[in-house]
């Protein structure tokens, strides 16, 4: 498979820088009480953005865990817009338009992995050409769902790319307590599928690996497990205090291999990037985010929206509950 062009890499870097910048602003907004618990993206930008760019958003799907959305600009601006809405606690934040092939965030870890297999299988049944990429963490890889799904995908030769984002931590649990495996890609052989580990801080390498896996899936070659190794550079979430458990020297070392800086250096050397470009991207990213936050904060809900979209038609009991709710509930909710 061809290495991505530097132009492509530059687009990826723009997405990465925007993601990093917006994550920082969101962190501050959480600290100000304007948004809910947030899972920062720092350290995962190359993996998510490059993986997204290796897909065709008009045909392929991206099924995320919960850190990904900031870096999925390639799938359309609605991803960020809805993510912001999600973060202010609005229910519509989990709805993307039909045209955007990205699933809602998944909070119940690893449950999206079998969904990916079913979706890919269903697309093949419907003669659709796309593939499904599903992303999950090193911690999530211990869940039974991942095993059941990878095994099923092997049998069905489903067009799936399993993207295991190994950031060395599951909240406070280090990889050494998560598994004794030398590499998570080693799981693949147990399902008769190809498995590969790539440096997740290397956007080009991630792009390559996903591109190759995608090509294999599209040509009927079945699923691939791609493990990307990265390091979680920030807290698990805004509710977490990593100084309790992350060895400072490890974090220090990881910071020296920051994926954003690495790609920036490469493109700077190639004459495609400089401080000015970065400043522009950052400013635009903040500007966009602030507008989206304002817009999200301006939206409200009515209490009985809590009953919507459960069933197509309310049951008798639900209809009564809706009635009671309209009579008794506190006025519509807003951001935290």
């Amino acid at each position: 498979m061809a290495r991505p062009t530097d132009d492509r890499l530059r687009t990826i870097l723009v997405d990465m820088v925007a993601a990093r910048t917006q994550a920082g602003r969101l962190w501050n907004l959480q600290r100000q009480g304007r948004i809910g618990t947030l899972a920062p993206i720092d350290g995962h930008e190359a993996t998510f953005a490059a993986a997204a760019h290796a897909l065709d958003p008009t045909e392929d799907w991206f099924l995320p865990q919960y850190r990904e959305p900031l870096a999925l600009q390639h799938f359309g601006p609605e991803v960020l817009e809805q993510y912001v809405l999600y973060n202010v606690g609005h229910p519509d934040g989990s709805r993307l338009p039909e045209s955007v092939r990205v699933a809602p965030l998944q909070i119940s870890l690893a449950t999206q992995v079998p969904h990916a297999v079913g979706l890919a299988w269903g697309m093949r049944l419907r003669d659709e050409p796309g593939v499904v990429l599903v992303s999950f963490g090193d911690g999530s890889s211990s869940e039974g769902d991942v095993h059941e799904a990878m095994n099923l995908a092997g049998v069905l030769r489903a067009p799936v790319v399993f993207l295991c984002v190994n950031n060395q931590w599951a909240i406070s649990t280090p990889l050494s307590l998560q598994t004794a495996a030398a590499s998570l890609a080693d799981r693949a052989v147990g399902y008769g599928i190809p498995g590969v580990t790539v440096d997740g801080n290397d956007a080009a390498a991630v792009f390559d690996a996903v591109d190759e896996a995608r090509a294999r899936a599209r040509s009927g070659g079945g699923p691939t497990l791609v493990e990307t190794t990265v390091y979680r550079l920030a807290a698990h979430t805004t509710a977490d205090d990593p100084t309790r458990y992350v060895p400072p020297e490890d974090l220090e070392a990881a910071r020296r291999d920051d994926p954003v800086e690495r790609l920036a250096a490469h493109l700077q050397a190639a004459g495609l990037w400089n401080d000015e470009a970065r400043a522009t991207v950052e400013a635009e990213a903040l500007d966009l985010l602030d507008r989206l936050v304002d817009r999200a904060e301006a939206r409200t809900t009515t209490p009985d929206e809590v009953m919507d979209h459960c069933f197509v038609v309310d049951t008798q009991r639900m209809a009564r509950q809706r009635q009671e709710l309209l009579e008794t509930a506190p006025a519509g909710g807003g951001p935290p």
């Binding site: 989990s94 079998p114 269903g122 419907r126 095994n151 008798q316």
Partner: protein, 329 residues
């Protein structure tokens, strides 16, 4: 296509699957041993031969993946009908059932349509090994976003399964093991749909109503018929679907009779019979002339063969409860 045929409940289920697969090519059947073997009870017999390996799929032995991939199939616009070989093994998939199937529409605010049916045999009386006989209606009913259907006749098995498959909401469809061959009746040929959410008055009666679902309706009807010889007028209400629950039908018959017995096979504490009692209290407390009585399994796990008869509510226990409710002055 307007005649009827006498079928067992098993044949009725099988016929519904044949009709629905022929009617809608989006329907896909998946589960353990459902294809080449036609299901361990033969509920899916003939589907593989008729509709092929793309639409009738023997799955690896992993209930979580069966249900989890059904969610993905639904996201792709298909209409999966997943079989859990015995309901007790749905625990292995509960994170997908309660957390994913039931919430796919809610989470996505209507973007994804969880037109998923999960079929599963359940209930006792046939000396199965552990966990093959467990009744879990109370638990499933508490998982918001799931419909829960439990037919008691062959005709309803066909008509309600058809309705479940066609329903855009997810349905857990419970098939009584004892009824597979033990219940038979006239079933309309061809297209036959019984709407979800409407209870059925299986026996008219004025003195007391026995409220039940699934195989327990059969037992209740036998009790009603036997007590009729003693001059007692015992109504039997077959709930047919537990979610949605037909509140009006419950209120109507309890208002008339003033006395009620609720029968279920599950563990009593936390079982669905409790929900029915609470519903009666809410809907028609002032009509009650006696406390509602529950006839349930006991508060222990479903037992092995030799203890089964002691555990499973039988006609004698139902009849005793009916008499007890009637004795209250």
């Amino acid at each position: 296509m307007t005649g009827t045929s006498e079928l067992t409940m098993l044949q009725a289920v099988n016929e519904a699957l044949h009709v629905e697969m022929a009617r809608d090519e989006r329907v896909v059947v998946l589960g353990e041993d459902v294809a080449r073997n036609g299901g361990v009870f033969r509920a899916t017999e003939g589907l593989f031969e008729k509709f092929g390996e793309d639409r009738v799929v023997d799955m690896p032995l992993a209930e979580g993946a069966i249900v989890g991939s059904a969610v993905g199939l639904a996201m792709a616009g298909l209409v999966p009908v997943a079989e859990i070989q015995f309901l007790g093994f749905s625990y292995q998939a509960m994170h997908q059932i309660a957390g994913q199937v039931a919430r796919l529409r809610y989470r996505s605010r209507g973007r994804f349509e969880p037109a998923i049916t999960i079929r599963s045999p359940f209930g006792g009386g046939v000396r199965t090994p552990e966990l093959h006989s467990d009744s879990m209606e109370g638990q499933l009913a508490n998982m918001a976003g799931l419909k829960l259907v439990a037919p008691a006749t062959a005709a309803d098995a066909k008509g309600l399964l058809a309705a479940s498959i066609r329903d855009p909401d997810p349905v857990v469809f419970l098939e009584p093991l004892r009824g597979y061959r033990g219940i038979r009746g006239e079933v309309p040929d061809g297209d036959h749909v019984v709407p979800l959410g409407e209870a059925r008055l299986a026996r008219e009666g004025d003195d007391v109503v026995v409220i039940a679902w699934s195989y327990q309706v059969e037992l209740a009807c036998r009790v009603a018929d036997a007590l009729a010889d003693d001059g007692l007028s015992v109504a039997v209400l077959d709930l047919r679907s537990l979610v949605p629950l037909d509140l009006a039908a419950i209120a109507g018959v309890v208002d008339r009779c003033g006395r009620a017995v609720v029968v279920e096979e599950a563990v009593q504490t936390g079982g669905f019979a409790g929900e029915v009692v609470a519903t009666i209290v809410e809907e028609c407390f002032w009509s009650l002339e006696a406390p509602v009585v529950r006839v349930s399994g006991y508060d222990v796990p479903y037992p092995v063969g030799q203890l089964e008869d002691a555990y499973v509510p039988d006609e004698a226990r139902i009849a005793a409860a009916v008499r007890r409710v009637l004795e209250v002055a």
